[in-house]
């Protein structure tokens, strides 16, 4: 197949527009109504550049990506043009589209597990693409596959080609998918949230790969993501989408330093930032209100005006154009000249951090352990023991201080959720002791008293599944009140209304079904349910991870306000170090069911820190593109925990491993220099760690 490759041109000398989208609108006609997902957007991608498309869920960014592949369903009505090398994709015949896909335009999807065929060896899947599209011999296809696997940084490609997808970790699967996308030297690569389902450490390595691809591959890349930090890391130019429109387009540097649309400025304000040098935590400035509904067909007004602090009458009467502010920087706002970083208000410091200076522990866990499963024997009950139990959490100790927040971080599989479930009693502990307000907690729910249940609540990750879809949303709140506060039905409904208002919801939603509320509203209902019964400690298991940044900021503010008012303690579990850093007073770093580091937040975040913490910190994407971070990258994934570790639990992946020591002897607990409560489990002397890390 002749792909007509352009000769490689030095970057930035010749403008070489690959794909041009002109005034694209997409409308979905469905049984539930007509939705206008994309409202007239235009942009172009050049060869050798990465265009980041960023926006919150429902803004139409994925629709754009699918439209560029020609993958939109029949219910979608497309207006405008998607020009690829001068030809309009949306009107192309399907046989012609098929020639483009894979050959010249390739796509990488969010979930690598569903993009790969689980019944085929990964090498064969790519061979097939090569033989089909490039028409080369099987022998040459195999050579090329190995080369591709080398290019995307897969270790030991000769062996990996013979593996099945389930034998690879998520990060490796995504590398295979990227290799498959690159197989036919595409001109345009579309990546739709390729790192969203992955751990931070894996995400960082994939982002490194994308950045390096940009220089090696002579293609344009469209990178779609909801995460501003990720976009800042990989893109050259950024287009910010809101309600199906591009509201701002500029170079990455300009966007993050000099945002010229109130929405972009607001988004940047919403991202939790680490405490400043003098230890002040600033309140997040959440964007109030809701996204402009896509069911509205036409609008002759600024779609952001209802949430904008600068909104004036002009904004309601006329739709602003995408005005050129300076070369390469456009903004869809009448008042873009007035936009400064502080239009959303000067961030106020959260001053209440000091007024609860008790160091009394509300919850104290010592030697807590949980193994899942039993020893499995070869012949059900006879024969040798073949499969040991999974050591999910192994003898960990930690404390939660009264009125403070303990953040728990770690990759998936590190045991964070098991710890949370053991505390609330959903998963019984095998060993150890949990003291709650100086009383020992029973390991399972029936052994706990009603007071303990009401004082120890939990909020789950997925707001949609934490509310019963067949019952009104107020159900869980009313039940909690009846159970814990002894109110009768009428009183509980009255109190539920108060709680509803306290979390910023309208009482009219009380009897709605969960499906009628947005994700953010559902999570507020879940919070109201947790607040009912005056809890002393709330365990938040990834409670804000599924929410968009602007909604996440609202929920974080709500949590902070509640803590300030009632002195509630939180255990805040998240894989997102940025959020944990923002909310926590103490941080517990878990790895493979072991404590890597535990101590006051500022001590944990500063050097010296455990090499694993260091890796997590350096992997977290930052929104400031200027900051050059130390690059520690972890290879591989959390080990399977069937056997007790001989030496240090982290030795298998540690970049600072001491041969002969770390894999033989358990690491000692070292007390950090800045605080006596700061513990680091590592062999390397702290002085040396500090010197290495600075």
């Amino acid at each position: 197949m002749n792909t007509n490759k352009q000769p490689t041109t030095p970057k930035n000398t010749v403008k070489n527009v690959l794909m041009e989208v002109k005034d694209l609108s997409v409308t979905f006609y469905t049984a539930r109504g007509t939705f206008r997902a994309v409202r007239g957007i235009s942009f172009s991608i050049e060869r050798g550049e990465v265009l980041g498309l960023v926006g919150e869920s429902g803004c139409g960014k994925s629709t754009v990506a699918f439209g560029m592949m020609g993958y939109l369903p029949d219910s979608a009505h497309v207006e405008g043009e998607i020009l690829f090398a001068g030809e309009n994709i949306s009107t192309m015949s399907s046989s012609k589209k098929r020639l483009l896909r894979g050959n010249r335009i390739a796509m990488v999807y969010q979930d690598p597990a569903t993009s790969l065929n689980p019944t085929m060896r990964v090498g064969k899947q790519i061979n097939e693409v090569l033989i089909q599209h490039m028409g080369i011999s099987p022998q040459r296809a195999k050579e090329r596959t190995i080369q591709l696997f080398k290019d995307v940084g897969l270790p030991d490609p000769e062996h990996i080609i013979n593996r099945y997808p389930h034998q690879l970790s998520g990060g490796m699967q995504q590398r295979v998918v990227i290799a498959m996308a690159l197989a036919c030297d595409p001109d345009l690569l579309i990546m739709d949230e390729p790192t969203t389902g992955l751990d931070v450490t894996t995400e960082a390595t994939i982002l490194d790969l994308v950045v390096s691809l940009k220089d090696r591959v002579n293609a344009g890349i469209l990178y779609v993501s909801h995460n501003l930090g990720v976009i800042a890391r990989v893109s050259d130019r950024v287009a910010v989408m809101y309600s199906g429109q591009i509201v701002e387009e500029s170079s990455v540097k300009n966007l993050f330093e000099n945002a010229k649309h109130p929405y972009t400025a607001g988004l940047l304000n919403c991202i939790p930032k680490p405490p400043t040098e003098d230890g002040l935590v600033t309140k997040l400035n959440a964007i109030p209100g809701f996204v402009f509904p896509s069911i509205e067909q036409t609008a002759n007004m600024c779609l952001f005006s209802s949430r904008c602090p600068l909104s004036q009458t002009t904004c309601l009467e006329e739709m602003p154009q995408l005005y050129q502010i300076e070369t390469g920087h456009k903004s869809r706002c009448f008042f873009s000249k007035d936009i400064k970083a502080d239009i959303w208000g000067v961030p106020e410091p959260l001053t209440w951090q000091e007024n609860a200076l008790t160091d009394k522990a509300i919850l104290e866990a010592t030697g807590v352990r949980r193994f899942f499963g039993r020893w499995e024997r070869k012949y059900i009950i006879f024969g040798p023991k073949v499969k040991p139990p999974v050591r999910a959490v192994t003898n960990i100790d930690f404390k939660v201080k009264t009125g403070k927040t303990l953040g728990i971080v770690g990759e998936s599989g590190s045991g964070k959720t098991t710890v949370a479930r053991m505390i609330v009693g959903l998963v019984p502990k095998d060993h150890g002791q949990i003291l709650f307000q100086s009383e020992e907690l029973g390991s399972d729910l029936p052994s706990r008293t009603r007071e303990q249940l009401s004082e120890l609540r939990m909020v789950f990750q997925n707001p949609t599944s934490s509310l019963n879809p067949k019952l009104p949303v107020c159900h869980s709140i009313v039940r909690s009140l009846r159970k814990f506060s002894g109110f009768n039905r009428e009183e509980s409904i009255m109190h539920a209304e108060k709680l509803f208002e306290a979390v910023g919801l309208d009482i009219s939603h009380m009897n709605s079904r969960p499906e009628e509320l947005s994700g953010g509203q559902q999570q507020r209902v879940a919070l109201a349910g947790a607040f009912a019964g005056n809890p002393k400690l709330i365990v938040l298991d990834e409670a804000v991870s599924a929410l968009d940044v602007s909604i996440q900021a609202q929920v974080l503010n709500l949590l902070a306000a509640h803590q300030h008012e009632f002195g509630t303690s939180y255990i805040f579990i998240s894989h997102d170090l940025g959020v944990v850093r923002y909310v926590s007073d103490d941080i517990l770093v878990l790895y493979a069911g072991h404590v890597a580091e535990f101590g006051p937040a500022e001590a944990v975040l500063k050097t010296p820190s455990h090499p694993y913490t260091e890796a997590l910190l350096s992997a977290a994407p930052l929104i400031n593109p200027k900051v050059q971070k130390s690059r520690i990258r972890l290879v591989g994934s959390v080990p399977t925990m069937h056997k007790a570790f001989k030496g240090c639990f982290f030795a298998g992946r540690c970049p600072r491993k001491i041969e002969g020591v770390c894999d033989r002897i358990h690491p000692p607990a070292q007390t950090g220099p800045s605080s006596p409560n700061h513990v680091i489990y590592c062999h390397i002397p702290l002085d040396q760690l500090q010197a290495d890390q600075n």
């Binding site: 959903l426 729910l445 789950f460 599944s465 067949k470 909690s480 009897n511």
Partner: protein, 319 residues
């Protein structure tokens, strides 16, 4: 689907489950009505129900009357004519009248039997699925054991065992036969419903709303009935109508074997059984009740198909 939390404050607490069941049935009917097959199925079922309830009023003859001609001879085995649209049977009874009124006990018994089966099966399935562990293992092996019998054989076993004991309670005695069949149908259906309900419960009990109910300290029965049960309604609806069609078949088979309604009351299964000697000379006697049974089952199956299509559920069928 379920009633809202605080509407109808005057309604007594005990009526609530009933209202709820009615709402669920209404919802299922509406769902099925949205598709073509559902509409056809519902129409067929409706015709059968009307015939079963008021059919005897419109029947040209009494279903048990032995018709004779003016000379006083029985008009037996008369072929379909204008006088007897579907002919007469060996005793000169009008087949049309018998078919029209023969559905009453069949529909009643199989519906009640299915309802009992759903209730028993849900109880066992949800309880065992929610409890898990050894309890689950024990109950499921028991159910497997029951399922290893062919349904008809199991039904015969239960019926013959129970029917040998005479009953002397004044209220129950007249309907004792029907009660026995209802119980048998319920019992035979229980393991199959139980399996389905268990698998739904297993996936639902991992949901976070169930976990949060456990964290509220709700008792097990509350979690099962208030939190899990409402979410199983589509499954229950589909399962109920699948079971209903098998129940109709089973009741007719029992009638055919002489274990159902006793003669001379009209019953389709019994009619087929009695007419099998005349299959060659007078096929209409067997054909009409057989067609009636078949059309009722087809109607129920089309109704099920309608729910499946409207809800986008996969096609599946197990005996």
């Amino acid at each position: 689907m379920a009633p809202k939390l605080h509407t109808n404050p005057n309604l007594s607490k005990h009526l609530k489950p009933l209202v709820w069941v009615i709402n669920v049935i209404k919802e299922l009917l509406k769902t099925s009505w949205r598709t073509t097959s559902g509409r056809i199925g519902l129409t067929i079922i409706l015709i059968h129900i009307v015939l079963a309830t008021v059919g005897h009023l419109f029947a040209p003859y009494s279903p048990t009357a032995l018709n004779s001609n003016k000379a006083g001879d029985l008009i037996s085995l008369s072929s379909p004519s204008w006088n007897f649209l579907l002919g007469t049977d060996q005793l000169g009874r009008d087949v049309l009248s018998r078919v029209m009124s023969g559905a009453r006990s069949l529909i009643l018994v199989s519906t009640c039997g299915t309802a009992l089966g759903i209730a028993l099966g849900s109880l066992v399935g949800m309880g065992s699925g929610y409890k898990g562990g050894r309890t689950d293992e024990l109950f499921m092996r028991l159910m497997d054991g029951l399922m290893s019998f062919p349904s008809l054989l199991l039904a015969l076993l239960i019926l013959t065992t129970l029917a040998s004991r005479p009953i002397d309670l004044p209220l129950i005695k007249p309907i004792w036969d029907e009660l026995l069949i209802i119980f048998t149908i319920g019992f035979v259906n229980m393991p199959r419903v139980g399996r389905v309900m268990r698998s739904v419960t297993l996936s639902l009990k991992e949901m976070e709303f169930v976990q949060s109910a456990r964290l509220r300290g709700e008792p097990t029965y509350y979690i099962i009935f208030r939190e899990i049960l409402p979410n199983t309604m589509t499954v229950v609806g589909v399962e109920a109508s699948v079971r209903l069609s098998y129940a109709i078949l089973l009741v007719s088979s029992l009638g055919f074997l002489g274990l159902g309604v006793q003669p001379p009351s009209p019953d389709w299964g019994l009619m087929i059984a009695q007419s099998r000697h005349y299959l060659v000379s007078a096929p209409w006697i067997a054909l009409s009740p057989a067609a009636a049974v078949a059309s009722l089952i087809i109607g129920v199956n089309l109704f099920t198909e309608g729910i499946r299509q409207a809800r986008g559920l996969p096609q599946e069928d197990k005996p």
